[in-house]
Amino acid sequence: MPGSNFLKRPTSATAVIVSLALLVGACKNPFSTREAEKPLGQTGTWSFPASPDLVLRNLLFSFNERVVANYTTCFSSDFIYAVDFFISGVPDTSRSWGNAAELELASKLFNFASAHVDSLNYVLSLAPDPSRTDIRQDTLAIFFRTYQILQLRLKPQPPETTVYAGVATFHLRQDSFNFWALDRWDDQHQSSTIPSWGDLKASFR
């Protein structure tokens, strides 16, 4: 057979198989998980996301309570986050990212806030956008929400407040697990002079 002289010696093939077997054995076990600590108490406010409204409720509470475990359930596996225009920060930062990046950014933000709990706080509020009508379909929904995040720095006297504000368009879909989850999140600045949620997220990239 043409080309069969490629890695032709049986010893080479055996060596490759043995090496692979050793490699597989030495790497991550795909069946085992670690043991968790017993809960110290109730973990945040969370509802089974059986409707799109409950997803936004979970998003709101998980952000304000800094519970990344609950925040995670708000996003589908092929989730996309997209910002409208400029985003402060480093170059080569794209104006959209996916599920893994979103969860990593949330983890970093929540960990950062938890690590500075005495000096920093974030408070999120969501409200329907009066200028647009929500769209609900059988397994799809699009919600328009204005949002405001207050970043409170508690150490300076008087405490300093930074406002992040804008309009979020949440595209939700009922996934194959029958959960409702965010499929896409378009973030728009309220004005060009006020940073948006995307700016806050991007500062942790």
């Binding site: 057979m1 043409p2 080309g3 069969s4 002289n5 490629f6 093939a13 692979l20 490699l23 597989v24 790497c27 991550k28 076990n29 795909p30 069946f31 998980t33 670690r34 968790a36 600590e37 809960p39 110290l40 109730q42 973990t43 089974f48 059986a50 519970v67 990344v68 475990a69 409208d84 225009f85 400029f86 985003i87 402060s88 920060g89 480093v90 080569d92 990593e104 983890s107 970093k108 960990n111 690590a115 009066p130 200028s131 009508t133 929500d134 769209i135 609900r136 059988d138 204005t146 300093e160 309009v167 194959s176 697990f177 029958n178 600045h189 309220q190 004005s191 060009s192 002079t193 500062s203």
Partner: protein
């Protein structure tokens, strides 16, 4: 608007000029209008040959979005613009050399913020041999930035070049080498980037191959640290490497094995160059970004065997490890993934097909102790799915899909572990299709699903935390060709869902909290007026009612109370003039009216016009 007029003027001149369009030329426009939004996008590439030597090309991609009285019932409209365009004139000096000039402009803006970058370049392309090419551009660039604080400009030379060499070596295979650099020497915002790449491909036969790719990138870029400020700048240094090796091999017994290794590493260094008072705090928060290293490596191995045309089997293994090191503990993270997967395909007869897929994998995230392990977590994913098909006759067939998916989420910290849970999902979806000669068709599909959520640590009374969501639906569709030109498609969908806690009463029983019933009726038509002119339209009526199940202690009964209702009517109409898939003019209109309790109500109108042409 001025830029739009400029674009159309250039376009008109281009259109009226002499010479023939090349086959690469194509144009697409799309305009959409909603109640408050107007969107115009275009993508065009026009290339004309005026003689054997002279060539003119125009490229443009733009997106304009106007939102009327944009936010919070505001009184101000907002216009967003993004556009990149270039017009280039080329002259073929000989069979191996081409020279030219190009004028390009990029714009990104939302009033009052805006960036614009213009470049004027001279170009040389030299291809002395098939395996070697050199392209270089040299010129001047001008960048301007608008913000609330005013306007600032930067200008300077730019130089871009690219060298490629590829060679087929009889004994080794083929080798590709490439190098490129891009220098943009703006006075306050210099940017330099260099790339090297190498690839080796070895083909041993139909199934035996070895491929190795190496990429290396160095970049230095000065940028505005804050989009709203005109003074604060910072510098980013990037050093990134990418290695990819693939090996595939046919083993004795006709087993086909493939192995792939990938390594990706990026190191970023940041240095603030000028800091305003306003940004001092922002920069202080951003110190962690001064240096970071991100890397990951992964290995994939698959083994497969095909048994004539009757059966096939594949086994796969995937391992991935990566880390993010920001030099500050709350952002650092490591992760590791291991996954096994397999597929079996069978074709027992010409009328039957069966395929089974299964996979199981765990991804672990590790974070430093300082963050309290709040994000230390494991995710276990498992899937088994089956798809089968049987053809009863040339007109009648059955397709069946079923799956079970398992998702287990474990947070290690006691602060988060209360919500550790396993989600177990079952799905069965048979579809029957009848297709009769003449275009008449019937399709009936069913969908049955159940979703169990069980918590690792019970929070309140025994069992009360476990939940189940059940859903079942039926979708019927009939395609009715009334004449050779006119066809109707009629559909009806019914869906039932309920949700509740799972209680143990010698067996698991559901304590329903709510149920929801959905009805959707739709009627659509297509009418082919002429060979290239078609009309389509439709009406969709949707009704959704949700009922809460409330316990009446006085009567010891469960009462269903309607909590949410939703009704929507949608009308659509479309007109298409299409010579083929790439040359068309299409107009669509949609009106939606929705009402109900617990939902925002209102009417929405959408109109879209699209045009596409390929030369």
């Amino acid at each position: 608007m001025a830029q739009l007029r400029r674009l159309f003027s250039i376009l008109a001149l281009f259109w009226l000029g002499g010479g023939a369009f090349t086959r690469a030329s194509q144009v697409q426009f799309n305009f959409t209008q909603g109640n408050r939004t107007y969107s115009l996008t275009d993508s065009l590439l026009l290339e004309r040959n005026f003689s054997d030597h002279w060539k003119l090309s125009l490229t443009n991609q733009s997106n304009l979005l106007l939102v009327k009285k944009a936010f919070l019932g505001g009184t101000r409209d907002r216009l967003q613009k993004y556009a990149t365009s270039q017009i280039a004139l080329g002259y073929q000096l000989s069979g191996t050399a081409e020279v030219g000039v190009a004028l390009g402009r990029e714009i990104t803006s939302t009033d009052p913020l805006g960036y614009a970058l213009s470049r004027f370049s001279g170009m040389l392309k030299w291809t002395p041999r098939n395996e070697f090419s050199l392209t270089t551009l040299l010129g001047l660039a001008d960048q301007s930035k608008d913000s609330d604080l005013g306007k600032k400009g930067n200008s300077g030379p730019h130089w871009r070049s690219q060298v490629r060499w590829q060679k087929v070596l009889t004994k080794v295979g083929s080798v590709h080498l490439g190098a490129s650099q891009n220098f943009l020497e703006l006075k306050r915002l210099p940017a330099r980037e260099s790339n090297l790449s190498a690839a080796l491909e070895r083909k041993g036969g139909l199934a035996d191959s070895l491929t190795v790719e190496l990429h290396q990138r160095w970049a230095k870029k000065t940028y505005y640290f804050d989009e709203r400020a005109l003074s604060a700048t910072a510098r980013q240094n990037v050093n990134s490497s990418f290695i990819d090796g693939k090996l595939s091999r046919r083993w004795p017994g006709d087993w086909l094995a493939a192995f792939e290794y990938q390594y990706n590493r990026q190191e970023n260094n940041y240095r603030p160059e000028s800091v305003s008072d306003v940004l001092r705090d922002t920069l202080a928060l951003d110190l962690q970004r001064r240096k970071n290293i991100l890397w990951n490596q992964e290995v994939r191995a698959t083994v497969g065997k095909q048994l004539k045309n009757v059966a096939g089997v594949t086994l796969g293994w995937h391992w991935e490890k990566g880390a993010e090191d920001y030099g500050v503990n709350f952002k650092d993270q490591r992760r590791e993934t291991g996954e096994l997967s397999g597929t079996v395909g069978l074709r027992p007869s010409s009328s039957d097909t069966v395929a089974v897929f299964g996979s199981i994998g765990v991804t672990s995230y590790f974070v430093p102790p300082i963050s309290g392990f709040l994000s230390d977590r494991d995710l276990l994913n498992g899937t088994v799915s089956l798809s089968a098909g049987h053809r009863f006759s040339p007109y009648f067939d059955l397709k069946l899909t079923g799956s079970r998916r398992l998702l287990k989420q474990i947070y290690l910290s006691g602060r988060y572990s209360a919500n550790n849970r396993t989600t177990d999902n079952y799905l069965l979806a048979p579809v029957l299709s009848y297709r009769f000669p003449g275009g008449f068709a019937l399709r009936q599909g069913f969908n049955l699903g159940a979703n169990y959520v069980t918590f690792d640590f019970l929070k309140t009374s025994p069992n009360a935390d476990h939940t189940i969501l059940r859903q079942a639906s039926s979708a019927s569709e009939m395609t009715l060709p009334l004449t050779a030109r006119l066809a109707w498609i009629l559909g009806y969908t019914y869906r039932y869902e309920d949700f509740g806690g799972l209680l143990w009463r010698d067996q698991w029983v559901e304590q329903t909290t709510w149920d929801r019933r959905t009805n959707i009726v739709d009627a659509r038509f297509t009418y082919q007026w002429a060979k290239s002119l078609g009309v389509s339209g439709g009406f969709i009526w949707e009704q959704k009612f949700t009922y809460d199940h409330v316990a009446r202690l006085s009567t010891n009964t469960i009462e269903r109370i309607r909590s949410l209702s939703f009704i929507r009517k949608t009308v659509t109409f479309g007109l298409t003039y299409a010579l083929d898939g790439a040359n068309f003019l299409r107009a669509d209109y949609q009106r939606r009216a929705q009402s109900g309790s617990g939902f925002s109500v209102g009417d929405t109108d959408w109109a879209t016009v699209s045009y596409g042409r390929t030369f």
